[in-house]
């Protein structure tokens, strides 16, 4: 075995994150690490690479016990990692990020020319030829950043490559590129740990699977020997009740909002959109196509500079700021939960009550008992773990943080809710739970704008799908047209954009 982990234990105050976990990684395999949100996957990785000090257990690489104290030491041992949360430094250039710590040096000074050359070489094969390595990383979209992070980790990993949810913000094409690279590395004899909530990808890419649940090792098996249902059963400890697709349930509620030529220069071209009561509108498109921008304009985050949003009776809805939008009964769960969603040091209770409190105004505090009831209610309904309303949100696992942000908006009971990638980083169980919730909410009359990169999800949940391309709403699909082929077709439109052809 390339890497063996035995009896790994890690406790945080109030949480046993890992409880005697074992894990093996062979050279030349891709090993999936699976489990619900908060199962302990990221913690396992962090203990392995020295980010967290482990409480107990042994780790051996090539039979030698190792105990890296920092990412640096892990890298020196040949373990390259793409972490789930923070990855790279947006204020440094792409080249600096890629070669960080190993920049080519001459006479003590970094040779920019050679650094840029090296960086370009490292990026070769990822389809990022258009990226200027001398520009700051922050100038590029998340997807590019994610791939840069992967390229860096690949270059650093002599023996082991760890990918913690690398595909969460990638689209299909980029995911495929990544998989090609991973397969190449596997062929070269590397061991690869792959964490993901996308089971399709797991079956597509990996050789073996290890499932964690509540910090315990549940099973390790060859991927081919498992089927989807078994796998989910291992992860959840019970069967998954699937939410049925909405198609056919078609609703024609009365129009509730009408956008007329709403747009903002440089962000999103003017678009018309009618939102009906109780319907789910899906927004499909490639990364950077302008979906988030649509949401931003509708919520007043980047106020529109043209057009208007009107009530059915013709009065304009004021959308100059998020506050105005909230006052108009809107809600918005943003795409980037870490920077725009959670307030890390506040407790789960306070995070859930935050928007409600902001709407009530500072002078009318939400009684503590009421806030607690609210928090406990949503902790139960969304299965937020650990179920402690007083825990600081920043200490929750990624997926659970996402649920807290959702709970904040559900507690507001808005009439129009914008969900930008609500299921990113969320496990299968919660995924289904959220989709079911979307169904329940619309039944109760709420309208939802759903932005998602997962076509299956869009198809399952939407009454209508609007396709966005190059910051423009290009087509609208309803009824039977809502299917993968039609959407992909509309997104790609080969004649316009031959390069991004197959999504």
């Amino acid at each position: 075995m390339l890497l063996t982990i035995r009896d790994l234990t890690k406790t945080f105050p109030g949480t046993v994150a890992l409880d005697g976990v074992r894990f093996d990684l062979a050279a030349g395999e891709v090993h999936a690490l699976l489990g619900e949100n908060g199962a302990g996957k990221s913690t396992l990785i962090k203990c392995l690479t020295g980010m967290h000090a482990r409480d107990g257990g042994q780790i051996a690489l090539d039979g030698q016990p190792i105990s890296p104290g920092s990412t640096q030491e892990a890298q020196a041992l040949g373990i390259g990692t793409v972490y789930q949360e923070v990855n790279l430094l947006p204020n440094l250039t792409v080249a600096e990020n890629l070669t960080f710590g190993r920049q080519p040096v001459r006479f003590g000074m970094v040779s920019r020319r050679r650094m840029h050359e090296e960086a370009r070489e490292m990026l070769a094969g990822y389809g990022l030829d258009h990226v200027d390595v001398a520009r700051e990383l922050g100038a590029y979209p998340v997807a590019v950043q994610q791939i840069v992070a992967i390229a860096r980790a690949v270059a650093l990993s002599g023996k082991v490559l760890i990918l913690d949810e690398p595909t969460a913000s990638l689209d299909a094409r980029e995911t495929e590129t990544l998989f090609e690279v991973v397969r190449g590395l596997r062929a070269r004899g590397l061991g690869i740990i792959f964490i993901s909530h996308f089971l399709d990808q797991v079956f597509d890419l990996t050789d073996r699977v290890t499932v964690l649940r509540n910090g315990r090792h549940i099973v390790t098996a060859g991927t081919a020997a498992l089927n989807r249902v078994e796998l989910i059963h291992h992860m959840l400890g019970h069967e998954l009740e699937m939410a049925e697709a909405r198609r056919g349930v078609q609703r024609d509620g009365p129009a509730m909002l009408r956008a007329e030529g709403l747009g903002r220069r440089g962000r999103i071209a003017p678009f018309d959109l009618t939102v009906r009561r109780g319907e789910v509108i899906g927004l499909a498109g490639l990364l950077g196509s302008g979906r988030t921008e649509t949401g931003d304009v509708l919520f007043g985050r980047t106020p529109a500079d043209r057009g208007a949003l009107r009530e059915p009776d013709g009065t304009a809805v004021e959308l100059r700021s998020p506050r105005a939008a909230i006052a108009a009964g809107f809600g918005y769960a943003p795409e980037d939960r870490k920077t725009d969603g959670i307030v890390a040091d506040l407790s789960v209770r306070e995070n859930i009550a935050l928007a409600l409190q902001a709407r009530r105004g500072w002078a009318r505090p939400l009684p503590r008992a009421e806030a607690r009831r609210l928090a406990e209610d949503y902790i139960r309904r969304l299965d937020i773990r650990p179920a402690d309303p007083e825990k600081a949100v920043g200490l929750l696992s990624g997926g659970n943080q996402q649920k807290v942000v959702l709970a904040r908006w559900l507690a507001m009971n808005p009439r129009f809710l914008i969900l930008d990638e609500p299921t990113r980083g969320i496990d299968v169980g919660a995924h289904a739970e959220i989709l079911r919730l979307v169904g329940d909410l619309t039944d109760a009359g709420m309208s939802i704008l759903l932005i998602s990169s997962e076509l299956d999800e869009l198809i399952a949940a939407s009454d209508r799908v609007i396709v966005v391309r190059d910051r423009r709403h290009v087509s609208e699909l309803v009824g039977e047209d809502i299917c993968t082929d039609r959407i992909v077709q509309a997104i790609a439109r080969p004649d316009a954009d031959p390069e991004g052809a197959r999504a």
């Binding site: 909230i326 307030v343 040091d345 935050l354 902001a358 505090p365 920043g394």
Partner: protein, 340 residues
């Protein structure tokens, strides 16, 4: 209630330790007697002399909770003291004097708040501007001299007493309790903490970050105004050059000793006031102990370092009473930096 006490425990222990230390050098430190119907004693002096820093610390706590800092409070003290002194020495009466002083503080706070919240200037720089220019404004009011007055009504705020208790003590207690109640009995505290921890996310949740930011700087300006009036009333004169000089640093120190992080977020007004008392006890203790003046700074620096080391979250668990500060979630998922 017990939770509140737990939050204050490190500060209370620190204060007790410093008091014990000073008492070792000056045994009569805690003795309080009643002379001419008023309380006198070193401990009373500490409470009285601590008033300016305690008042500044109240406002500074709110500003720091929003991840800001207010370097201008010393200069604002000078301006407001000067404005009040100017008013009484021009025969305007007590009401006008207080109104002018507080009004000046409000304007200064508004100025800072607008620069920070609307123009997006970083707090250190924004308030540095008023720190430099403000003292000039104060000097302009007093024309460079010490503007003395003999108005008993105004002097009462610095040198008077109510049933034997010096007025400055009552003023900071009342201000502290009022602000403490205001932020904790309403949702202000929560909202301030939220924008301090993650302003973009809070704004997106509908928190009116701009107005709140301006409000905390205004609060800080008002606290500085009260402190400025107390100081001017104390010496019956506005000393534009020296009133509040470098007190902003003491106030910030008080907030930090009080356990509020300079990175914003969770705060406690009461703990900051305790921090101010710790600093004043050290200052008074140095005076009482009778060391030569050139040792003052070294002693103060040494004690501050020791206190900070003992309160450090990294050393916490080993020492009873300390390290009770909750581990920050910062390491896990804090927004790195408020992008502009």
């Amino acid at each position: 209630m017990s939770q509140g006490l737990r939050r204050l425990a490190p500060q209370l222990v620190t204060l007790a330790a410093v008091v014990a230390l000073v008492s070792a050098f000056f045994p009569g430190f805690l003795a309080v007697e009643i002379a001419d119907g008023r309380l006198v004693g070193s401990a009373v002096d500490v409470l009285k002399r601590g008033a300016p820093v305690a008042l500044l610390a109240v406002g500074m706590t709110l500003v720091i909770a929003t991840r800001g800092i207010d370097l201008s409070v010393g200069a604002v003290m000078a301006i407001c003291g000067a404005a009040s002194a100017w008013a009484v020495s021009n025969g305007l009466g007590l009401g006008a004097a207080l109104a002018l002083g507080l009004g000046a503080g409000l304007l200064c706070g508004l100025w800072n708040g607008v620069l920070v919240a609307l123009f997006g200037i970083q707090p250190i720089v924004a308030t540095l501007i008023l720190m430099v220019a403000g003292r000039g404004v104060a000097q302009m009011i007093t024309e460079g001299r010490i503007l003395t007055f003999s108005h008993e009504g105004l002097a009462f705020f610095g040198a008077g007493d109510v049933v034997g208790v010096p007025t400055p003590i009552l003023i900071w207690i009342v201000t502290g309790v009022a602000v403490g109640l205001l932020v904790r009995r309403t949702a202000l505290g929560l909202l301030i903490e939220a924008i301090g921890i993650n302003r973009p996310a809070s704004a997106l949740a509908g928190v009116n970050a701009r107005v709140l930011l301006i409000a905390v700087y205004v609060a800080s300006g008002l606290c500085a105004a009260i402190a400025g009036i107390v100081v001017a009333a104390d010496i019956r004169g506005a000393d534009a050059n020296n009133a509040g000089l470098w007190l902003e640093l003491d106030a910030i120190l008080a907030v930090v000793i009080g356990g509020t992080s300079l990175l914003g977020g969770r705060f406690s007004v009461a703990a900051s006031i305790l921090g101010a008392l710790v600093i004043q006890t050290i200052d008074t203790g140095i005076l009482l102990a009778g060391f030569p003046s050139e040792f003052n700074l070294v002693i103060k620096a040494g004690l501050v370092v020791i206190i900070l080391v003992l309160q450090s979250p990294r050393l916490g668990p080993g020492l009873p009473g300390f390290g009770l500060r909750a581990p920050r979630a910062a390491g896990v998922a804090r927004t790195e930096k408020a992008t502009e």
